[in-house]
Amino acid sequence: MKHIKFRQYLLILLFLGLLLFPMLNRKNFLLKDSENTENREPAPKPELTMKNLDPFPLQYEKFYNDHFSLRQTLMKSYYDLNLLVYRKTPIPDQVVLGKNNWLFLGGNEVDVYTGKNRFTNEELNILKKELEYRQNYLAKQGIKFYFVIAPVKATVYGENMPENILKLHEESGGKQLLRYLKQNSTISCIDLYAIMNSCKKSGLLYFKNDNHWTKRGAFIGAMQIVKTIQHDFPTLNVLALDSMRINSTITTSGNLTAMLSKTKLFVDTIIELTPKNGFYTNEVSKVGYPVVKGFPYPWEFEMVRERKDTTMPKLLLISDSFGGNLFPYISEPFSRSVKIFDSWQYKLNEEIVIAEKPDVVVLIVLESNIRNMLKYLSLK
């Protein structure tokens, strides 16, 4: 049969052509690959030596897979298939697809939400002692210390978490620590859970496509912190939300959509919040404190803002990426504010304290990173 022969020849040609294509298309010679959205270094080419005969195959396979022709295009197709056809996340351990098109960061943040990574009594006690040590150390220098936990998105917007992620415990690890500190210590803790929950109906406090808080959420958090500090420093001024100009723009970007191969399927809102009369503070040049070794975002390690009125207290903020959106608002009432993003170590940073001589030190720890503090204790 002629048509059967036609099919057989064509199948062989097609099969061999497809198998050979990645080899021929190395370095995008024939077809261009999509943009690389993987936030990691591809595996290096291993060397074949007598010493690494057994591990070589696995190393080479990793290298081959990471440099496979059209890798990004294929991954994007896989992600789109899952998101468009199956309506599910292709990387459930990293990105969780919630209700109403909300995306959540997987792993640690989900564990916080479910209550899986709550603290043992021993851990709570160590954290308490560490914070008390810092409070006493700073108090000796006349500095007031405040401890803040930034809630993860899932604890604020739990109603948008998928049904199949079940809570093991109603109280998350962050809330557990705050309760413990309130009951057992004199640490000035600032609870953002209640304010976030009461304000979330009036506007987006966290991005839908990103695990961070929006400028609105950051503003509300910042003002809650300033309100508490105001008890010790009455001259500080708390800004009202209606004194701010709000601008919104629609976007499909966000760190979670980036992890999903920059999909355009999820829409989000970027909220710009600026004082109607302009900021009192301006960003000024950095001091140049030494950056933590291996920190992937060295340009974010240090940020300084100052206002003309030098009579106001000075602030040192130790934080993580959540400090980025919050910093312009929290620094408004202070004469000089320094923000340090110390690679999620949340250390005391004594050298900076000594150099800056602040009146206030605020430590903001993202709920899912509290455990990092146990690794970098100042208390010996």
């Binding site: 049969m1 048509h3 059967i4 022969k5 036609f6 099919r7 057989q8 020849y9 064509l10 199948l11 062989i12 097609l14 099969f15 061999l16 497809l18 198998l19 050979l20 294509f21 990645p22 080899m23 005969l53 057994d54 070589f56 195959p57 080479y60 396979e61 081959y64 897979n65 496979f68 890798r71 294929l74 991954m75 197709s77 896989y78 992600y79 298939l81 899952n82 056809v85 199956y86 309506r87 599910k88 292709p90 998928p162 049904e163 199949n164 079940l166």
Partner: protein, 482 residues
């Protein structure tokens, strides 16, 4: 190296194929042998030495046996050969298990324990040992002559298409093909079709069910409740079929591309109407190996009825033990053996007379319950899992989890897997072939359109599989551990 890996698909396979077809006929076997050794070494360079020693010993045993043909010495050399092969297998596969169990006994009678061994299982040892055994026994039975060419014997044992996970090819079946096999466009294109169908079964179906089965079997059975436990058992039943039948399809397809014709290993086992029939359709190369090399030499069903039952239980004990050094595998084998005996006791007559779907349901239930033993790490886990299958006090949380597994992807893959395992697609293919081959019945346009659609279908499978593999989705091969 996995068949379902980008490295195999897009580097090893095209180079092996191109090299093979560009090579002069005399060198084709050497090329295949070299590629097969690289393929094997990829799973552990050190293990390749064990494989080469095993081949060399079997080469010597074969020649010595033939030299002593029809003398008592031949039997003695066969015993030495079988003992050597089984000994190597036992050393690598069963020593850890033996020491563990012996220590439990020694501990009980308060005798100092033996230090626990941690011997690593070389890839494919269960399969290449059986290839070697079949070679020696077939020489002893005068079914074949000893292979004088060391490289041809090496190719039989190491041929990459069936080296790691079967099917178990008898030496007598491929002896002629080692030297005189033909190549054709028809064979090659059929090989591609079988290979891609197998790849799709593995990557698109088995891996999807594996994710569900692995999550459910990782839980404590007492936390599951009946719906989740049944879902886990069904998912695993589909996973193991799609995984192993897929691998066999790929092996048969690859063999065909290089001119070999291997026996079928699966014939829609889930449509069987008895356990006996199931074993005629599941892992055919293994069950026929045990039938011909263990059951029949033990006397089969020719001695007495009680002896037949004992022989059946021995065969199924060995089948279970061959799959893994664990009591749950042994009990899995004996569980099947028990139902074989029950059927022989007269239940098969009842099954024959009963409504066919009912007989099929009985078989499927026996097989699925047995898969729990196969999947469980320990016997006690399997027992608790069986209990969970009848725990109908399901909580709301369990129901939420259960529903979350039943998403669109599950239903699409479930429908395809069930229809495929019941033979629906094969039946459609069978009906289409005569229509396509008949000039009178259809127009040329229809025939060409049909072929174009099928080409798109096969290219689509390859694209989808590559997409899944590159995205690093779950990709374990169940039969790689045997």
């Amino acid at each position: 190296m996995l068949f379902s890996s980008p490295l195999f698909l897009y580097l090893f396979l095209p180079i092996t194929l191109l090299g093979y077809y560009l090579m002069i006929p005399k060198l084709k076997n050497y090329w295949l042998l070299a590629c097969s050794l690289i393929f094997f070494a990829w799973g552990g360079v050190t293990f390749t030495f064990i494989l080469l020693i095993s081949i060399f010993l079997n080469y010597i045993f074969g020649i010595v046996m033939e030299k002593n043909k029809n003398t008592p010495k031949m039997k003695r050399w066969l015993i030495v050969g079988v003992a050597t092969n089984v000994g190597i297998l036992a050393l690598f596969k069963y020593t850890n298990f033996l020491v563990l169990n012996l220590n439990q006994l020694l501990d009980w009678i308060h005798i100092p324990l033996i230090p626990q061994t941690h011997i690593v299982l070389p890839i494919g040892i269960s399969f290449y040992t059986f290839h070697s055994l079949s070679y020696l026994i077939d020489i002893y039975r005068n079914k074949t002559k000893a292979q004088r060419n060391f490289f041809d014997l090496s190719l039989y044992i190491t041929m990459f298409s069936q080296l790691i996970a079967g099917p178990i090819i008898r030496y007598s079946d491929v002896e002629n093909q080692l030297r005189n096999r033909t190549h054709s466009v028809e064979k090659f294109s059929y090989g591609i079709e079988r290979f891609l169908i197998g790849l799709g079964k593995k990557v698109l179906l088995a891996n999807t069910f594996a994710k569900i089965a692995d999550q459910i079997f990782a839980a404590n059975p007492s936390d599951l409740g009946a719906p989740l436990a049944w879902l886990g058992m069904i998912a695993y039943s589909l996973q193991i079929y799609c995984d192993f039948a897929g691998y066999s399809d790929m092996a048969i397809g690859l063999g065909r591309m290089f001119g070999f014709e291997f026996m079928e290993n699966f014939n829609f086992p889930y449509i069987a109407k008895s356990v006996k029939e199931f074993w005629r359709r599941w892992h055919i190369s293994l069950s026929s190996f045990f039938r011909d090399y263990v059951y029949i030499p033990l006397g089969g069903n020719k001695i007495s009825i009680p002896r037949t039952y004992i022989n059946l239980l021995i065969v199924f004990f060995l089948t279970g033990f061959w799959h893994g050094a664990s009591w749950s595998f042994v009990v899995w084998g004996l569980f099947h053996g028990l139902f074989m005996v029950i059927e022989r006791l007269g239940f098969d007559k009842i099954l024959e007379k009963s409504w066919k779907p009912l007989a099929n349901l009985y078989t499927i239930l026996v097989v699925m319950f047995a898969w729990v033993l196969f999947r469980a790490d320990t016997l006690s886990y399997a027992m608790n899992y069986w209990k969970a299958l009848f725990d109908f006090s399901t909580t709301a949380q369990q129901m939420i989890l259960f529903r979350s597994y039943l998403d669109k992807e599950f239903w699409i893959m479930f429908t395809i897997a069930v229809a495929g395992s019941l033979g629906l697609f094969a039946a459609i293919g069978k009906k289409m072939n005569p229509i396509l081959e008949s000039n009178r019945l259809i127009s040329k346009g229809f025939a060409y359109s049909y072929h174009i659609v099928s080409l798109v279908f096969y290219a689509g499978i390859l694209y989808l599989c590559t997409m899944f593999l590159i995205s690093g989705t779950y990709n374990p091969f169940i039969y790689y551990r045997f």
